[in-house]
């Protein structure tokens, strides 16, 4: 069931549940009624039996005399459905209603109490039987006294009761289902309201869901409001970044336009014009590169739960790339990272942080580049150093100022440092510049214990 109506589900559920409950009630009440009916009929038959026994006598020869039968006229109407019979050793007396038939004898009857049972009777009918062994006064032998009522009468009463009850319960079911429908309508009304408000939210991102929802729906509306706020922030940030990128491209485009005009005017030395074009292209490339770095940093803000990077192999692989470059192959790399060191970022993110720093270090190094790492008090510390000229504290401060646009960070250490800073801060780390014992720049990266993993 892919598409379903909540209303239909609730209604169907209520109708089925009420129906089942009422059906069970019908069965139980019918059974109770039957038991009650049997008890009542048994009592009536016993009253008739006492009348019968009062007029019963047996002489010494065993011949049974009934002075006066029970008063109910049905005993005197043949096949009326109400019968009595007294069975002695040698003689059987019975009501006129039995005509020439007899009730079946019973093995279970005793002299202690009246017993009831159902049995096949004369005229092909089922009978409800009441029976007991009785010793009339002045007689030595006991006689079996049986009274019977046609079961059809019981069944008729039961069926009548069951039908009336079923009609009543059906009406009750309809009424209860109607009540359930009203309940569902009332209960779902906030959702209809919610749908209208969500439609409004879609048309206007600044719109929010109102606060007057039932307590059960409120967590949902609050979550939707939070989501809407987060999305609005994302969209605003994305627009800002698109604008930044566009601004970053405008200057190179203006430079290209200027070069084009110069060339058309014929007043430009081709070499100078080509240099100008190259400068503009480089500026555009830097703007694009910076935007890509920022996009990567934004992506790494959402670190996967099980992210884990081993700094040693990451550093080694980065060095194996740098060793391929003309400058990189002339540099001596000192790697001092424990094999077991682990950091809770992805290997890709760590590569994007260490990569630019190592590239910078190689660019400015004279002979040596050192990359070191250690775990201290549960914190993870990584450092990249070179023996180059280092940077002045002014440049360092500028490179580290928050919010410096990456593409404005310029040449030198700037762009690489700014990219690394974006990445490190996106993963919850800190970055600091200092002077290396090798003589050049030292960049320290640190992550607090929650980012460290024991390897």
């Amino acid at each position: 069931m892919k598409r379903y109506s909540l209303q239909l589900r609730l209604l169907a559920g209520a109708a089925v549940a009420v129906f089942v409950a009422l059906a069970i009630a019908w069965v139980a009440m019918t059974l109770l009624f039957q038991r009650q009916l049997e008890q009542q009929v048994g009592q009536e038959l016993r009253r008739d039996a006492l009348q019968l026994i009062a007029g019963l006598s047996v002489d010494a020869a065993g011949s049974i005399t009934v002075q006066e039968g029970p008063s109910d006229p049905r005993f005197d109407t043949p096949t009326s459905g109400l019968y009595w019979q007294v069975s002695g050793k040698s003689q059987i007396q019975r009501s006129r209603s039995l005509w020439d038939q007899a009730l079946s004898p019973s093995a279970a009857a005793d002299g202690l109490q009246w017993q009831t049972r159902f049995a096949d009777g004369p005229f092909g009918r089922r009978l409800f039987l009441l029976e007991r062994l009785v010793q009339p006064p002045g007689s030595k032998d006991r006689v079996l006294v049986q009274l019977a009522l046609d079961e059809g009468e019981l069944r008729l009463a039961r069926t009548e009761f069951g039908t009336i009850l079923a009609v009543f319960l059906f009406v009750l079911w309809v009424v209860l289902s109607g009540a359930a429908w009203i309940q569902v309508q009332l209960g779902l009304r906030p959702l209809v309201h919610l749908r209208r408000e969500l439609a409004a939210l879609r048309h206007n991102a600044a719109e929010r869901l109102s606060a007057d929802y039932p307590r059960e729906v409120e967590p949902l509306t609050r979550a939707i409001n939070d989501l809407a706020s987060a999305r609005e922030t994302d969209v605003r940030r994305a627009r800002q970044r698109a604008a930044d990128l566009a601004h970053g491209m405008k200057t190179p485009l203006a430079a290209l336009a200027a070069q084009s005009r110069l060339i058309r005017a014929g007043g430009s030395d081709p070499d100078v014009a080509a240099d100008g074009l190259d400068r503009a292209i480089a500026a555009a490339a830097a703007a694009v590169e910076a935007e890509l770095a920022r996009a990567r940093a934004a992506a790494s803000r959402h670190r996967p739960q099980d992210a884990q990077a081993a700094p040693l192999p990451v550093a080694q692989r980065l060095i194996s790339v740098l060793e391929r470059t003309d400058k990189g192959m002339r540099v001596d790399y000192l790697v001092d990272i424990p094999d077991s060191l682990r950091l809770a970022v992805t290997g890709e993110d760590l590569s994007e942080m260490l990569g630019p720093l190592l590239e910078n270090a190689v660019r400015f190094a004279r002979r040596r580049v050192r990359v070191a790492g250690k775990a201290l008090d549960g914190n993870i510390l990584l450092s990249v150093e070179d023996d180059g000229p280092g940077i002045t504290s002014g440049d360092a401060a500028e490179a580290m100022v928050r919010g410096v646009r990456l593409d404005e960070a310029g040449g030198g250490h700037g762009l690489g440092l700014a990219i690394a800073r974006e990445m490190v801060e996106a993963t919850g780390g800190t970055i600091a510049l200092g002077v290396s014992s090798l003589g050049g720049l030292r960049v320290d990266l640190g992550w607090t214990s929650s980012w460290a993993l024991t390897g």
Binding site: A285, L318, D326, M329, D332, E348, S351, G355, P356, R367
Partner: protein, 221 residues
Amino acid sequence: MRALVVEDDPDVGPDVVRALEAAGFVVDLAQNGDDAWFKGDVEDYDIAVLDLGLPRLDGLSVLKKWRANDRLLPVLILSARSDWTEKVEGIEAGADDYLAKPFQMAELITRVRGLVRRTAGHAASSLTVGDLQIDTRRMTVTLEGAPVSLSQLEFRLLNYLAHQKPRAVPAGELAEHLYGSNEADDTNAIEQLVVRVRRKVGAARIETKRGFGYLLTDQRT
């Protein structure tokens, strides 16, 4: 010098070809992965400039197929992507250098020349000194058959000593070769480097000839 340029972009490809031809190369251009793999597999080039985003067969797969077939020509990878993960992947697949787009043509020519220079004269790609085996093309060293983990600088030191054998090489000359210049405290740096290499291949293999320099020997201990 023969060069293979693999680039599907209709502007960039011919541009690179023109620049390399101006730099004195004889250049073939392949515009898809299949063609590139075939050309690199049957022709002998001194260098390949390989774009990663190619139709039919991507650049990294072309490179892996060449290397699997023992085609050891130096390869410079070009890619529009600039992330380090891809650089590492490229180098580990067997590339020799990596250049991100957009690049300056002069930079490309410099890199290509550097690669050709580095791999030139390595036709005999293996050199044996005692039980030390130096693969100059793959830049790996094995000792009694077991690989020795050396950095580039350490490898180049060992390789240079092997090529100069049986001449002892002064520290100054080593610095000149390894760093491209020779400055005041470089002798120190070379000394430290030699200590590290000795630790990896056995101390007796690099002998210090007082007054002459360092000499690679066949000795084991």
